[in-house]
Amino acid sequence: MSKELIDAVVDMREEDAVKIAEDLLNSGANPMGVLDDCREALGIIGSRFAAGECFVPELILAGEMLRQIATLARPRIQQSGSAPQQKLGRIVFGTVEGDIHDIAKDIVVFMLDINGFEVMDLGVDVPAAKFVEAVREFKPQVVGLSGFLTLAYDPMKNTVQALKDAGLRDSVKIMIGGGQMDDQVAAYAKADAYGKDAMAAVTLAKGWVGAK
């Protein structure tokens, strides 16, 4: 474990973090260990975010740092043939039909991924039928519906209904989130819960799959 790397990521020192990771990898450190350090740092950042001590920019920069370090580590993982990490569960995620906003969705997908979930990201402006198809094929435990605008209320409701019509509703827990969403909208859409931010989404998903 490299405390130096963890500190650099947590302290948002982007250049330092990437340089330290690169040096570690070049000196023969286990690439999975380097990524585990990043994950630990992300865990600290996530807790700080949940406590209101850091904010969306920190999550975005953490994502950028991890992306750069993962790019460096990936070829070495393939060489060493390390086993992939055991996932907590599968999640299908997307911004609902008619809404093209992706920033919040990307942050939530990233935080779910870093917290051990296998996430299928369907992108933005996703029709209900595409959610149904993804749930049928990917067999997730959780579906996440993102939307920024009030115009997303009905597409969310329609997506939940489409999953019900396809006989898939009982196989998944559904969370919603985004700009103008709240508990009221979750009830309207017949989703299982509303999450106010990325860490709330992680907590909900972990609760549903029985993970700590």
């Binding site: 904010f55 969306v56 009030t150 103008q180 009221q184 309207y188």
Partner: protein
């Protein structure tokens, strides 16, 4: 009343009084009848009262309106941007049926055809990238590259003409080849400085700009007419006057985009601060220049990148607030009222925005999702405040829920004046009965 000849010599407080009086006395507006004129005066009076932190005869109720009038009238969102007859009919029906205390602008939707001619990239709009039944949405990208801050800082107008506009309007891409206008110095410089305007592809870009201008002029003429009809036939004042932006939102919203500006906070902090300072005077000029004598003396700011989730209070103080405060103080000096629409929440900023340099009764703070009880605690007696009626309730709640939430907000907030009711986010969707209940509950409330 006409603008006083000695207006420029008045104090900021006198300027504000003169502007408010011209608006309340509906300078240049003729009403359908005396009753409508009285209704206008009553509404303008209760709005002026809350701005001046007085107790109004009753609490004003506004509807922050997005595309809702169009589905309500049986039209699509696309109609709002393409069919000006439907624009007029829908806006009139909406105001006549729900009777809010101020006019929702028919100018919000823009001329779709002009955007097509210009090949506008920055937004997707109904029928053009998003469904015809959906509002327009910003398609963010790095229209200003990360290493271009110095170019923008050197000369923002030149940067807009030759870099930014050719990127956000596909039809204007050839303008990137133009030399700067500041090249046009002495006689020998003129020929080399303007021959580009003879090139066919640049002429083609300018022709498209002229075409878009013609379309926009027709649209603008109709919008003014529609708005005037609503004001005179329904006795409703406008409450939103001019428009400006927080200086940091200029690079943040449409030039760098949300993700990049938030990363720039770590990677290019000095550039963000320099760009915000550079934009302060531009945003102040825009607010002053677009204010119309006789119109509402407010300058509306949709605030974006300074919200709670986007930065810490310390960063808000460092990056967002100083240049915004400069613009606000500049407007107040001109007798104009900064009308701040806080999108997202400002729960962690209330002690920063209640800045002792900003005089009491000179600003309006309209909140989307901020805790309104805290707002009252901090802002009461200092600034007019409003907002945070959940738009979700208007679409997904029951009439009883709407009434009870309205009453709760009024009980919590309205008692001492300086407050009006408005929904937190612009309305694209609602159940008509809920919207009626919302307006009626506020109008029935006695303070």
């Amino acid at each position: 009343m006409p603008k006083p000849a000695d207006f420029d010599k008045l104090t900021p407080a006198q300027k504000l009084e003169a502007r408010l009086a011209a608006w309340q006395n509906h300078e240049g507006i003729e009403f359908a009848d005396k009753e409508k004129e009285n209704e206008y005066r009553f509404r303008a009076q209760i709005l002026a009262d809350v701005v001046k932190l007085r107790k109004p005869a009753r609490v004003p109720v506004l509807i922050a309106t997005g595309f809702y009038p169009f589905p309500y009238a049986g039209y699509t969102c696309r109609d709002a941007m393409y069919d000006y007859d439907k624009l007029g009919k829908a806006m009139m029906k909406f105001h006549a049926d729900f009777e809010p205390d101020a006019v929702a602008s028919p100018g919000l939707y823009g001329p779709g055809k002009a955007f097509e001619v210009l090949d506008y990239k920055l937004y997707h709009w109904p029928g053009h990238g998003v469904p015809e039944t959906t509002s327009y949405q910003c398609a963010e990208a790095e229209y200003m590259k990360g290493d271009e801050y110095p170019d923008f800082l050197k000369d923002p107008s030149d940067y807009f003409l030759r870099f930014y506009l050719p990127r956000v309007f596909g039809a204007l891409e050839p303008l990137k080849e133009l030399p700067p206008f500041t090249n046009l110095q002495e006689l020998p410089f003129v020929g080399p400085g303007i021959f580009h305007f003879g090139l066919p592809h640049i002429q083609d870009a300018l022709k498209k700009l002229m075409k878009a201008g013609e379309i926009s002029l027709e649209w603008f003429t109709r919008v003014v007419e529609i708005e005037k009809n609503i004001i005179t036939s329904l006795g409703m004042p406008k409450f939103q006057g001019a428009f400006s932006k927080a200086p940091m939102d200029v690079p943040g919203d449409t030039m760098r985009g949300t993700k990049q500006i938030l990363l720039d906070k770590f990677r290019k902090p000095n550039e963000i601060i320099a760009a915000s300072e550079r934009c302060a005077q531009l945003m102040l000029d825009m607010g002053v220049r677009n204010s119309v004598w006789g119109g509402p003396p407010t300058v509306f700011f949709p605030l974006h990148k300074g919200a709670d989730s986007f930065m810490s209070p310390a960063d808000f103080k460092k990056f967002y607030w100083p240049s915004l405060k400069t613009v606000m103080l500049g407007l107040i000096k001109e007798g104009l009222i900064p009308f701040m629409f806080v999108e997202g929440s400002y729960n962690q900023r209330l002690d920063i925005i209640t800045d002792p340099d900003i005089p009491a009764g000179t600003t309006i703070w309209y909140f989307d999702k901020t805790d309104m009880k805290e707002v009252r605690k901090r802002l009461q007696g200092w600034a007019c405040f409003s907002g945070n009626f959940p738009s979700s309730l208007l679409k997904t709640g029951t009439v009883d829920q709407v009434r009870s939430h309205c009453r709760q907000l009024l009980d919590d907030l309205a008692g001492d004046g300086g407050y009006y009711m408005v929904n937190g986010a612009v309305l694209d969707e609602a159940i008509p009965e809920n919207l009626h209940a919302y307006v009626e509950t506020v109008k029935e409330y006695e303070i």
